[in-house]
Amino acid sequence: MNSLRIARAALRARPAAFRAPLQRRTYADAAPDKIKLTLALPHQVRTPSPIYDGFTMQLPRLAAIFKSQGVVQVNIPAESGDMGVLANHVPAIEQLKPGMIEVVEDGGSSKRFFLSGGFATVQPGSVMSVNAVEGYPLEDFSADAVRAQITEAQKVANGGGSEQDIAEAKIELEVLESLQAALK
């Protein structure tokens, strides 16, 4: 009976003793102002089948523009409007318009890419991932090619083609005008 009482007291005493060591310092605590960004293009992600050589399993490596990299801010062209995402953003799913994404890195420098459309998701704990069909840094685009295509698409959009041709030309115009604005 006596020993039972002691055991009970020990049980009661335990939670207080264990509370302190639980306060660990995690990555999120060390860098509270960063958002972990993954920016991937489906055609770029190499996915060979996992190789097992008898000792270790080699998993397919992820090729991406950003691989879970800590950045300060990500500005995305969402269908619901342009938005900037900082750390600790609420979880969100956004459909992306063809437009420019800007990634602000440590020290205020930023990288700009033009994406052809896709989706961005923000997960709890400052984790963000962006998937786009095509995406290139702005310096990879030719302003001349954009201008030539705008003239071409305008001709089709105002011409007497089928309803579908006109719709496609209007989509092209929308993308090209967004691209031209980004290149300026």
Binding site: G117, G118, Y136, E163, Q164, I171
Partner: protein, 76 residues
Amino acid sequence: MVFAWKSAGLSYNRYLAIASRVVRRSLKEDKRIAAERRGETDLRFAKWSNGKQGESKNLVDANSSGMASNAGSASS
């Protein structure tokens, strides 16, 4: 929210394909040539009925004619 491409009878996939194609065409010469290869699709299909193969059709052509016939009915 009503999207222009949707009321024109296009699918979201088709919309993305058009937007991506135009992005690839806007690249500088060297990158463009490498990228444009990705836009090419070559796939044929045939419908089988009563144990016989039907006409073999190009998927891209069949898709675009399907969407063209869709265009009128979807724009409401």
